[in-house]
Symmetry: C2
Subunit: 390 residues, 2 copies
């Protein structure tokens, strides 16, 4: 059940400890699920109760603490020794008079992690304000500080095995996208198309199936293409309307996303034009990606192409991807937007996602790319054209 060899986790922890040392951090605490998995392998749908991984500058192995009934899942998915895979008693779950972080904080203090500079992923999804209040109260001798997403930034360059999982995820999203395109027809209910997408995404190939993606299938349709995060309904698709498909495949929690746009019936001339511009700009941009270029320069290349055609878009048009959990498959590190001076490096994986929204409709055509030693490689092999179904 292990996604990686023990040695890969050990190397990751060492890289994190090295950054901790540089920043004067004694203990790093994360509730970010992808960071927890990255450092220990811990996996499971147990994040509806508090859980965390703590890395000490002084110990080789991190400690992972989850709800007691989920400790056996930790023995299956991690290489941690028993004393570093802990579970809290069940009477802490959703109690009004105490909080799991009371117990967790006590355990960290007992293990010598209660003092010095303690950095926390303060904005991690499942690290609530209450969790922070309880944890800091349980560790009164620690000096708490913001981690600056330290582990996310270590995760940004992928190993060969991580890239292999992302290539498998690319196969899954290709299957899901084709299933979605095939299923969208006038009169077909949105829910029935989504059922086909899930079927392809999870059944996968004869060699491997897919897992749950961090975002459910998105398919804004008609006027809904300007409301990007409404999920599907039981209403039918209509002739004469466009649908944006924003999907992903997931393999061992590694994601490969892809967006395409479908139109039922002949597309309005302007929509076809904008789609052609979007594809041209996307490919010119990907061709220019190489190690050393900054995120804002990548954005500027794209912008120079579309602005020639009178399209203005200053917002984010891409982000780092990889290991992730609901509710987001973005890595929360680099963004392809003005002001981000992060330099791209080999092994980074990026969703280049330049959506164009006009007054009452939008176009999304995207590619997930791997930065190589010399340029960028698309992870998927799938036609980029606006799909016209007559």
């Amino acid at each position: 059940m292990h996604s990686f060899e023990k040695s890969e986790y050990e190397a990751r922890v060492k890289r994190v400890q090295s950054r901790m040392a540089t920043s004067g951090i004694d203990v790093l605490i994360t509730c970010n699920l992808a960071n927890m998995n990255y450092l220990t392998g811990y996996d499971g749908w147990s994040f509806y109760t508090p859980q965390l991984v703590a890395v000490s500058i002084e110990h080789d192995e991190p400690v992972c603490i989850v709800r007691g009934i989920d400790r056996p899942g930790g023995f299956v998915t991690t290489h941690l020794s028993e004393e570093n895979m802990l579970g809290y008693p069940d009477d802490y779950v959703q109690a009004t008079d105490k909080h799991p972080m009371d117990w967790i904080g006590y355990q960290l203090v007992e293990r010598g992690m209660g003092g010095g500079n303690v950095a926390v992923d303060m904005d991690a999804y499942y690290y609530s304000a209450r969790a922070h209040a309880s944890l800091t109260a349980a560790m009164p001798n620690a000096t708490f500080m913001e981690s600056g997403n330290l582990v996310n930034w270590v995760r940004i360059v992928k190993s060969d095995k991580e890239i292999a999982y992302m290539r498998q995820a690319a196969r899954l999203v290709e299957l899901a996208m084709q299933a979605g395109i095939d299923a969208i027809n006038p009169g077909t209910r949105q829910c029935d198309a989504v059922a086909e997408i899930y079927n392809a995404q999870i059944r996968g190939t004869a060699e491997f199936g897919g897992e749950y993606t961090s975002i459910v299938p998105m398919l804004p349709t008609g006027a809904g293409t300007t409301t990007p995060h409404l999920t599907w309904s039981s209403e039918p698709f209509n002739y004469g309307e466009a649908t944006i498909l924003e999907l992903a495949g997931c393999r061992m929690r590694y994601h490969c996303p892809m967006s395409r746009t479908v139109h039922l019936g002949p597309a309005p001339e302007r929509m076809q034009e904008v789609s052609n511009i979007a594809v041209e700009a996307l490919n010119i941009t990907i061709d220019k990606i190489r190690p050393g270029i900054t995120c804002e320069d990548v954005h500027a290349i794209w912008n120079s192409v579309v602005s020639r055609h009178g399209i203005i878009k200053d917002s984010r048009m891409g982000y780092s991807i990889g290991l992730s959990y609901p509710p987001d498959w973005g890595e929360h590190t680099l963004s392809i937007r003005p002001g981000d001076t992060t330099e791209l490096a080999p092994g980074m994986t990026i969703h280049v996602m330049p959506g164009i929204w006009l007054d009452n409709w939008g176009i999304e055509i995207s590619e997930a790319v791997l930065v190589t030693e010399t340029g960028a490689e698309k992870l998927c092999n799938f036609s980029q054209e606006l799909v016209i179904k007559n």
Copy 2:
């Protein structure tokens, strides 16, 4: 696209304001997605960025604040007037030098909600420690306090229309459970069975389809039945092993969960015995549920049956259900466990879920019930027996 009439939302807000008045709360702030939906109708997969609903004791209408690109989704799903459906600028998204709660807090102050007693759902999933730090800094004249899940407790008694959605969700989980039972066979891959479950759960009936459930399909199998929250793999089911199916249906975000246990080949005698005990205890317990009985008394009834057979279980065996979002379909109010003295009342909906885990295997057979004027009614109609597939 509205789940309910405007008047139903207005009545909900009034009930919340009445409790606020009793508790001396001037402003109530919630990032709990189900609470946000309950108070305004707001829906969308936009919770990977900060968002909230605020209720003032002085204003009839709440204010809902989301990411700017999701504001149009608010116009579709809520009845709120334009000035109470706000979106923050995109440069606040995942920025390092500012946080969406800076902008949100400023807006609340501008709307006269910056002073007095401000109660917050401190343990809501997407209310991060960083969000709290930024919001409190932006509202320096407010006295922040813990809400005690005030809105969750208002949600606990369902209206007729809410119950109608839950009955539809019950149809969806019946379909999903049958699809799962049919698909689990020796040699079938877990991912292929999950694909069938999703297909049934989302395709639904000719009248309505299903939505994404707050927890993905769970089907711990073999030795995995003691690791309840590991998700599926691409491995096959094996002859001679049990699988626990814990599924739900979701309609307009209202959930109906159900658990059943399947064994491939003749079950070990002890497993069949324990299964029979579990079913007997479940039904005796449901027969005794009526308005006025406390949660701990419900637990004691179940316990008195199973303890006669030598089974001890002191942990939680049920919880309130209804409107919900990932990562949990529990309502985080009443728990069927020792020490919970909440009295049941008509209109409450409870997942009676007494899992029994022995040394290296477990049994789950559950029912979602509605508390009526005179007793309790099962929402699903589905055989409870241990499913033996020979």
